[in-house]
Structures are given as structure tokens and as C-alpha cells.
């Protein structure tokens, strides 16, 4: 029984971590879409918003059906509220992305002066023979090699935050930004045989 409980909690935490990371990735991508005035990134944020809705429902259902005891109800309510907060964060990110999708003239203030806005956004699929397969982002040194920064990694329905210890897999789609000169090198690195 105790073991089963632990299993259920592990599953709930896994789902929560995905909610949390997806909502945070959405904020990053939303700000990037504003800075770079990129519809591509804004659309990815909108897509993730829908995906979040699904994740969030699954998370709530799991929490509600984990047959907790009466005295544990408060701890489960706390969990559910955490989920609601991630959803709210995701909504806020989607609202930012909408500014780009509605063709609102990009005000210079929105560049937020983090990086120059002369950068472009590109994506590339990791194909056979790519030296990136099975490397962590830290080992892959994408920025050193190509000048492009990885903003997100799309893996099936999911999108992952580019954490240094995240391992790149065959079939991943890397979304990156940087100066136009780096785009070809970046694509060649991810899909060596398609250029």
C-alpha cells in the first residue's frame, strides 16, 4: 500500500514537473517571439497552450482519483492549486504571443534589449548521422559551433526547455535563434545529409 502511494506520487510529480517546465518554456518563447517579432515562435506558444490544457486536465484527474485519505485532502488541494497556477502562467505567455500574431507593430521597448533583434529564428530536425545524437546540450556546443542559441526542443507533442544536461535524440526538432549567417551551419549540424 505504502509502495503504491509512492508510485502515485511519483506519477503526479512527473506530470507536475512537465506542467511547470512547459509553462516556463512558454514564457521564454513568448518573450523571444516578441524580441524577434517571430510568428513561428508565437505559434509554438499557442500550440503549447493547447497542449497545457490537456496536460492540466490529466494532472487534475490523476490527483483526484489517487484515493487519498481525509487528512491528506489539504496536501492534495495544494497540489491542485499548483497546477492551476501553471495554467495561469501558460495563459499569460499565450497572451504575450498573441501580440505578435495580431500584427501589432513591434514597439522598440519590447525588444527588452537582451539581444539584438536582427536575429532570426530557425528550426532543424535531428536526423541520422547528426553528431548531436545522444549528446547533452552542454556537450553539443551548438552555440560555439554555429552561433545559434537553442530556444526549445520539440519531441513529439512535447516541447522541452534547453537545460544543459538534456540529451538530444534522433528526431528531435531544435528551435534556435541567431544571426542569419549561422542558419546553414546549424541545419548542417542537425541534418548533415539534407543540405
Amino acid at each position: 500500500m505504502v509502495e503504491r502511494k509512492q508510485e502515485i506520487f511519483e506519477e503526479i510529480v512527473t506530470r507536475f514537473v512537465e506542467l511547470k517546465n512547459t509553462s516556463e518554456l512558454m514564457i521564454d518563447l513568448a518573450y523571444s517571439s516578441l524580441m524577434l517579432n517571430s510568428k513561428e515562435l508565437a505559434e509554438e506558444v499557442e500550440r503549447l497552450e493547447e497542449y497545457m490544457d490537456k496536460l492540466h486536465t490529466d494532472f487534475e484527474l490523476l490527483a483526484l482519483t489517487s484515493d487519498f485519505k481525509k487528512e491528506e485532502a489539504s496536501g492534495f488541494l495544494g497540489l491542485i492549486r499548483l497546477g492551476v497556477a501553471t495554467e495561469k502562467i501558460a495563459d499569460a505567455a499565450a497572451e504575450m504571443a498573441e501580440v505578435v500574431l495580431r500584427d501589432i507593430e513591434p514597439h522598440p521597448v519590447l525588444k527588452l534589449a537582451i539581444r539584438e533583434a536582427e536575429e532570426t529564428v530557425t528550426q532543424a530536425c535531428v536526423t541520422d548521422n547528426s553528431p548531436l545524437i545522444n549528446k547533452t546540450l552542454k556537450e553539443a556546443r551548438v552555440h560555439e559551433e554555429t552561433g545559434m542559441w537553442v530556444l526549445a526542443i520539440k519531441r513529439g507533442e512535447k516541447s522541452l526547455r534547453p537545460k544543459p544536461d538534456l540529451r538530444i535524440q534522433l528526431g528531435d526538432i531544435l528551435i534556435a535563434s541567431g544571426y542569419a549567417e549561422g542558419v546553414d551551419d546549424f541545419k548542417k549540424l542537425a541534418s548533415p545529409e539534407h543540405l
Partner: protein
């Protein structure tokens, strides 16, 4: 009843206001999750206090936008700025909601924190105490990332917050450092900052 700050117009550039709202709201999310998962009341109260700061910034930014809009074209470009500011405000509200799980004694099942700690990095609040070897040192001299995989993401000095501190920022006695890293690393760093460990090892 919370105490509300009186809003008075101050000429601060829109850019500065927006950037501070962005940075603060992001810090608040990190702080709020840590407060909730590790049931840290003090940290939760910090988050709620920062929420008030964001509200003030939002008012100031709205006023700047009203002054800046002279015609329809201005209004068209400024609406994007106000939408983004309001989204940052919503993010900070969500962070405050998370913090409220702790301050209202709802709490989160303790097993959740334990499991979470295994899969994700955590945040810790560390107060720099007398006798610590890091007092007076610049952040880059400490080389925390390489030594123990720890990052200082914010410094609380008296009532002020220094977000994402520069490498050349110095650490003072009494600073409260918000650090992020693997549990082992930040535990070691806490011992160093509080003066229990007196050697920075490589």
C-alpha cells in the same frame, strides 16, 4: 488588510519598468515553487511582498503609456507594451497564488517535495554570516558554477533586490542570497556562506 502603497507618478523609462516587471515576475515564479514545495513561509512572504512591487510597477507603466500616446498610431504600438506588462503582472499573480498555498496553511503533501527534489534543481535562501570566506568577494571570484554547480540568481540586500547579479557584484555580510543548484551543491554553499565551512575547494 494589506497596506497599499500610494501611487505617485515618477518619470521612469517604460523600458526599465517593463524589464523589471519581466525579471521580477520570473524570479517570483522560482521563489514561489520553492516556497510551496519545501513549505518555506518566509520565502512565501517574500513572494507576496514582491507581488505588491509588481503592482506598483504596473501602475507606473500604465501612466507612462498614457502620457506617451498622442495619436492613433502611438496607441497601436503601445497596446502591445501594455498587453505584455499585463501578462507579466498575471505571471506574478500566479506566483503569489502559489505562495498563498503556504501562507494560508494549505500546504502540499510532503512526499511531493521529496520526489521533486530528486528530479529538479532546487532553490535555497542563504544568509551570509560573519566569518564566511565569501564576504567581500566578487561573484566571479567564487566560481560557484564550476566548483559546486550553484548559481546566485538574486541578492536581497536590506530592502532591495538585486536580480540576476553581475559577475562583478560583491557579496556583503548580511546579504540574503537566492541560490539555485543541485541539493548537494547548495548545501555545501550554505555551509560556506554561514561560515561553517571555511575553504572553497576546487
Amino acid at each position: 488588510m494589506p497596506k497599499f502603497e500610494k501611487i505617485e507618478y515618477k518619470p521612469i523609462p517604460v523600458h526599465d519598468l517593463l524589464l523589471e516587471m519581466k525579471n521580477l515576475s520570473e524570479l517570483m515564479i522560482d521563489l514561489a515553487y520553492s516556497a510551496a514545495l519545501f513549505n518555506d513561509k518566509e520565502l512565501a512572504e517574500d513572494v507576496i511582498e514582491l507581488e505588491g512591487r509588481i503592482d506598483t510597477l504596473a501602475y507606473l507603466l500604465d501612466m507612462e503609456i498614457m502620457i506617451a500616446a498622442r495619436d492613433a498610431k502611438d496607441a497601436e504600438t503601445l497596446i502591445g507594451v501594455s498587453t505584455v506588462a499585463s501578462a507579466a503582472d498575471k505571471i506574478s499573480d500566479a506566483a503569489a497564488d502559489i505562495a498563498a498555498i503556504v501562507t494560508r496553511d494549505i500546504g502540499i503533501h510532503p512526499i511531493v517535495g521529496e520526489i521533486f527534489e530528486k528530479v529538479e534543481e532546487r532553490l535555497m535562501k542563504v544568509t551570509v554570516k560573519e566569518g564566511s570566506v565569501i564576504v567581500g568577494k566578487q561573484i566571479d571570484e567564487l566560481d560557484l558554477a564550476a566548483r559546486m554547480g550553484v548559481d546566485i540568481i538574486a541578492i536581497r540586500r536590506n530592502k532591495d533586490w538585486i536580480l540576476d547579479p553581475e559577475e562583478t557584484e560583491r557579496v556583503f555580510l548580511g546579504d540574503i542570497l537566492i541560490t539555485r543548484g543541485a541539493p548537494m551543491g547548495i548545501k555545501e554553499f550554505k555551509d560556506i556562506a554561514e561560515g561553517r565551512l571555511t575553504k572553497l575547494e576546487d
